[in-house]
Subunit: 234 residues, 2 copies
Amino acid sequence: MAHISTDHEVLAAVFQVRRADLPSTDRKAALHVLLWQRALSPERGKWSLPGGRLGVDEDMTTSVRRQLAEKVDLRELAHLEQLAVFSDPDRVPRRRTIASTFLGLVPSPATPELPSDTRWHPVSDLPPMAFDHGPMVEHAHNRLVAKLSYTNIGFALAPGEFALSTLRDIYSAALGHPVDATNLQRVLERRQVITRTGTTARSGRSGGRPAALYRFTESRYRVTDEFAALRPPG
Amino acid sequence: MAHISTDHEVLAAVFQVRRADLPSTDRKAALHVLLWQRALSPERGKWSLPGGRLGVDEDMTTSVRRQLAEKVDLRELAHLEQLAVFSDPDRVPRRRTIASTFLGLVPSPATPELPSDTRWHPVSDLPPMAFDHGPMVEHAHNRLVAKLSYTNIGFALAPGEFALSTLRDIYSAALGHPVDATNLQRVLERRQVITRTGTTARSGRSGGRPAALYRFTESRYRVTDEFAALRPPG
DNA sequence: ACAAAAGTGTTAAGGGTACACCCATGT
DNA sequence: ACATGGGTGTACCCTTAACACTTTTGT
């Protein structure tokens, strides 16, 4: 059996909960993923995950961060974790390339400037994707959904301070189904994932009781409960 | 930033629940991992996970299976799944090598013949390990423990038919803490993970009621419950 | 009869969900 | 006063864990 050196690339599915970019349409918050459009063949015009080849003496995590820095402000990347490896010999043409995929998360209000070929796309409505990047996004999304239920990973999607209804919208967008703010509060408070700041927000124009503000207790990833929660209603 | 082609290896932590090999000692079943002893430098004499370099036109899964075939009878490998990638540039000397790790499971009664340099070692008492293979075993074990609680992965550790007390011993060895056979039965039956065969085992020499035999309903990996169970007592 | 092993029944505790109801603010 | 959004209380269900008790076998 012959052995060869193969290329190795890292690719990141970076998510953020955003209101739709389109001006007039439905302004509900939705989960978006960061993609760039290929200018060159192969797969010209299709959309790719950010990333690229692993450099010499580079750890994979270091490599992802370096390559993401070309697309987003790294200070806004609140979470980064390894996902699966895609190793099909024919997954891309020409040189054989193994891809290690990552999950990245950017908190909600931040809106970094993007290069002109780069854009946020709603996960529920992806453009034509290059190579095997479509399944990679799906895989990353599944992982995010799972971890929202038993870890404090939400800190990486939420602003520093937030009202519970805001947090509900974020969880709801990321999970893809409605979330009850009441129960979200209790689950996260019992697990001591969120803490009251003591301050309150001002009411909106249309009135309503002012919301208490919360923050995530820790900004470091932590498994909080082996029990899964936040599953779809029904 | 320069780019290079790096070597890529696959390594598998293959587990089996076995009684201790030692003749006279404590014959309780314990979780073991398959290791081989390095005959050559570097790290000569230390113990390694089976695996090796990825071949041309080889999928990683294909590669692991090929390389494991040199150590165990592949027909006995009931489960194989990808774990993490280890990419520290200095994780092994000489050529830079990225390692993709796998979790493999072999059912309990099977005792394949092994090459002379290869042996089952209790996970709780590992020999001096080569390179970063120690943490790899630990990582694989953690994954196994987690998945025992919310998937049917036990099928890959258990014999085709078994008494519940046997299954309890297997789960107990793999989890590293005592398991109540009563509750194990109810949890796995409710989830329809195990099914009664209708037959019963004969009693042992010392008497006792004959045990009903069970089998796993499916022999394919499946997530059975988002809820974690089988956590340590207390 | 007795010991040993297996299986059943019962209870308690914890977590999650659903939903009715009360509270505070703006118009 | 009323609408609007926020927050609390409560009741229910499901799952698991713990353990006492019964059943079936061998000696």
